[in-house]
Symmetry: C2
Subunit: 102 residues, 2 copies
């Protein structure tokens, strides 16, 4: 529906990976965090993204039962950290190009 999504899909994953490196994350929490950054995506989009990032090997999950109900909590794997480190170089390059002086 939104044609801008194409431009942002990678950025969204990098946001997710970055947060997963810093601390454990979970689905709805990520949705809210992304919403704060102006990315509107539904649960039907986000959860499959997390599943795939786990299948790819960037994230690992475990079901947490903290008193209340259960949450599937994700943290970044070593491969995820490596992928983020590489991607940061790319983001830096893009940033440099986009905001360079004439």
């Amino acid at each position: 529906m939104s044609p801008e999504r194409d431009l942002y899909s990678g950025l969204i994953r990098l946001h997710i990976l970055h947060h997963a490196v810093k601390e454990p994350i979970y689905g709805l929490g990520v949705m809210e965090e992304l919403g704060r950054h102006g990315y509107k995506l539904s649960a039907g989009t986000l959860y499959p993204i997390l599943h795939r990032m786990e299948k790819t090997g960037y994230l690992q999950s475990q079901t947490e039962r903290e008193g209340k109900s259960s949450r599937r909590v994700y943290t970044a794997t070593t491969a995820g950290k490596r992928a983020l480190a590489k991607a940061k170089v790319k983001v830096k390059e893009l940033f440099g190009e986009l905001f360079e002086e004439e």
Copy 2:
């Protein structure tokens, strides 16, 4: 094949859009430029991207016949420039998060 592609797909489009705003671009030229940034993508991936960005309304094209053979040359539309401006804000935000001090 490369699972990192997921992380970069948006970055690639932003590179393309950025260049199309600065000057006219064409398929193989973009491929080489992206290659210089370490993005390896085949013609079968790139051309459909350009087609879609045109269909979306970010780019407009015309066939140029500069003496030699012909090239389909793309430039950014007003909508494309607007989309890039918006995306730049997002990239800046991501950059800030990824490279913030602790």
